[in-house]
Symmetry: C2
Subunit: 79 residues, 2 copies
């Protein structure tokens, strides 16, 4: 079973990397950019056959390792 | 208009970061993990009102800055 975990910064958390990308895109002439925020994506392959169990395990993984839940949100999607 | 750009490594390209995460998850007792690959996600806010024009601009941004198209794939999603 395959899943995609997306980890993004919570609203209000400063994102200097996103700001730098925003500036670089502006410098390249893309003047329609209002904001950029960067996050991470993890494509995980699991041995599970049950989607519910996979999702529960992935939530544990996010809380323990993949995301810093103080400043980051995570979303799990079974694909 | 908001869009999400997902940049992932092409198949066959080595992903040491993903391997490290895979190992760390195994060490935490998650033994159902078969593979992990890490990518990047960009949440972009654009001044465009036309989805087609926004998508065309985002493709240009990916080719010029956001993705290294030699080793990475990108996917654009208007949200």
């Amino acid at each position: 079973m395959k899943a995609r975990v997306t980890v993004t910064l919570k609203n209000g958390v400063l994102d200097p990397q996103g700001k730098a990308i925003e500036g670089a895109l502006g410098g390249l002439g893309f003047d329609s950019i209002a904001a950029v925020r960067q996050g991470k994506v993890f494509d995980v392959e699991l041995a599970h056959t049950d989607a519910g169990a996979a999702k529960a395990d992935l939530e544990q993984m996010c809380e323990k390792l993949l995301a810093n839940t103080v400043i980051e949100n995570f979303a799990i999607e079974i694909v």
